[in-house]
Symmetry: C2
Subunit: 384 residues, 2 copies
């Protein structure tokens, strides 16, 4: 029984809670850096609130996954305007952009000094400037994770800036803000959240804190994702999915993952598709291959028991068979119109290089069973 | 579905994890203020680790619940020695002392400027100095709460210094450090932890984050407290109780409580007895009176359903009756040799003033049912 658990020092969750923004940022300063997504119709009331405050606001729009060039221009703009704090309202790309800006507003040097893999990976010396992170989707849970995922298109990889100071000062999750999400985004981000409470639960080194989050969230996701997709204005379903997303963020930040994320990172670097869509598309095949390998080689494995538990939660039936969970997700992905790997531009010729890059990814190391290359390839094949 | 959740930005839990202390405090500075409890036999290895580090250490011993005089002398000593960070190793009194010292090391003024009720209650301007809080008991969960309880003997009250900056930077919970606890402390602190996962679960405004902690912790406490008491060296039982204590701290800091704590605060100010002993002694009667009042006046109340759930967890039997939970705690308190109210110096003549002071305490406001004075008195009578 061991945990090493970090999160934002304050998490606020609830419908309508975004109206507390003026109170939340009191004392943070006068010059705000406000980051938003691409869609002008989301969160009108959020921007009304910001506009109404007596603040000097520098706005920045994020219209794709953050890359080094975009982040550098965001940091420059924030520094040039002497911004004292950051507010980010959007999907994972917006939230992550805010983390990097808040960090570099209070630390010298440039982004490359701090990036893993492609940069110097220096530690962040000072705490970040205060950052209020407000997700507009129910998906990444990035508001409670300590890294920003950054695209490096010329190297076809994604890398992270990662440290405990990157955790937003306040994570504000308001399900009301997700009511207007279009169906396709509800589907892919919702599946992202769903996967993020499945993989940490069945990973090879679970922990009791994260277990609680997953046990609470998996039944909620099973009962609510399709409803949120079909009836976007159903606030109860939106609330539950926003909660699942928050639990997913807390879980993935504090446990290991598995083959879905092991593949999703490299695939996301090589092909442009929403992270949630890639994860969703891979999940049924990963479950099938993991379950088959566990049954064959290690039938007493805790993860196999946990796959059984999940099956019973998904079916709301204690007698559900472990394989039922695979069918559940195959059906759910069809209903949510999740694309297949071929739909996002992958060909079978790409399989060897995907396997090559995924085999040793950090997420892959959390997979409940070690999968040889032919099994990894079979996952891609089944998801094709 | 609403939460406003704060905690230490990093929580580490696990047997033997205290050996990581040198890594954890790296970069915090050279001059440490180390607070310890009264018992020289606890945690020898902890002090060996501290002594071995290349630090200038100022030691401070806490041998009772912190009062203003003691805290002022601790702050003066820490300031005089220009301490850069704080390490606290002990029970709730030690942990709370550390919070106040860490706060005042980085903020001007003196303790009275910041105290609720008896002081000016000013907000804390600067973050606290880094504070590593390491409980030596499995009880208060104070390592993850944002207040320090301070005794004001001349006014016979306890007050708090309270704000989000008071949360220790790192909470390190190591069950190994509780192996040497004597039986009476295992009993009273263990019951403190147990009550702290019961009251937030049945309070009148539960929240889903805290619900998770309580659902996880109540069955663990039921299965392990008596074992930890009877076989102090049983590391599994100690682990579970340390976990319950941590969950209790997270729960009480982020939800309401009830009549047990509603009484325990004022009684603790008036009579000198361990907080956990007072809580334990009151719990069965509070449950009895709450359950009876709920059954009579509001039989569809969610809290009553939750008392039923608790009964089934305690008995590990889905068919357990709600009243079984009362008997469970009556028996447990007897087995743990928990004192009665009369044993801690209370007489029946004190009941009116206890009721008077408890009636409007903030914890009492979380009780699942509003209790008139005669019912409050009945609780005291049943616990006498």
């Amino acid at each position: 029984m061991k945990i090493d658990f970090s999160t934002s020092s304050r998490i606020i969750f609830g419908s309508g809670e975004f109206r507390k923004i003026p109170d939340l940022i009191k004392g943070w300063g006068h010059r705000a850096f406000v980051i938003r997504g691409n869609n002008p119709t989301y969160g009108k009331e959020f921007f009304d609130i910001i506009g109404f405050l007596d603040l000097e606001v520098t706005y920045f729009k994020v219209d794709k996954e953050p890359d080094i060039e975009m982040l550098c221009s965001a940091v420059k703009l924030a520094r040039d305007n002497n911004c004292e704090f950051v507010v980010g309202f959007g999907g994972g790309s917006v939230i992550d952009t805010g983390k990097a800006v808040a960090a570099l507003l209070n630390n010298d040097g440039d982004l490359m000094d701090y990036l893993e893999v492609v940069g110097k990976g220096l530690p962040q010396k000072n705490v970040s400037k205060p950052y209020l992170a407000i997700p507009s989707t129910a998906g990444t849970g990035s508001e409670v994770t300590r890294n920003a995922v950054i695209d490096v298109p010329e190297k076809k990889v994604k890398v992270s800036m990662r440290n405990a100071y990157m955790l937003p000062k306040i994570a504000l999750v308001d399900p009301e803000l997700t009511l207007d999400l279009p169906q396709n985004i509800t589907a892919t981000t919702g599946m992202d959240a769903f996967v993020q409470v499945i993989e940490p639960y069945v990973c090879n080194s679970p922990n009791p804190m994260v277990d609680m989050f997953c046990r609470d969230a998996i039944p909620r996701a099973a009962a609510n994702l399709l409803i949120a997709f079909q009836e976007g204005s159903n606030i109860k379903a939106r609330e539950n999915m926003a909660w699942v997303s928050l639990m997913g963020g807390l879980s993935l930040a504090n446990a290991k993952l598995g083959a879905v994320h092991g593949f999703a990172g490299p695939i996301g670097g090589m092909f442009h598709a929403p992270h949630g869509a890639i994860c969703a598309c891979l999940l049924p095949a990963v479950m099938r291959v993991n379950i088959e390998n566990l049954k064959k080689n290690d039938s007493e494995n805790l993860s196999l028991k946990r796959y059984s538990e999940i099956a019973s939660w998904l079916a709301n039936d204690l007698k559900a068979e472990v394989d039922d969970s695979i069918h559940f997700f195959e059906t759910l992905c069809k209903n949510l119109k999740i694309p297949r790997l071929r739909d996002i531009g992958i060909t079978k010729n790409d399989f060897p290089s995907i396997v090559e890059k995924s085999r040793n990814s950090s997420s892959m190391k959390g997979n409940p069973v070690l999968l040889p290359d032919e099994e990894l390839t079979r996952i891609l094949d089944l998801s094709f």
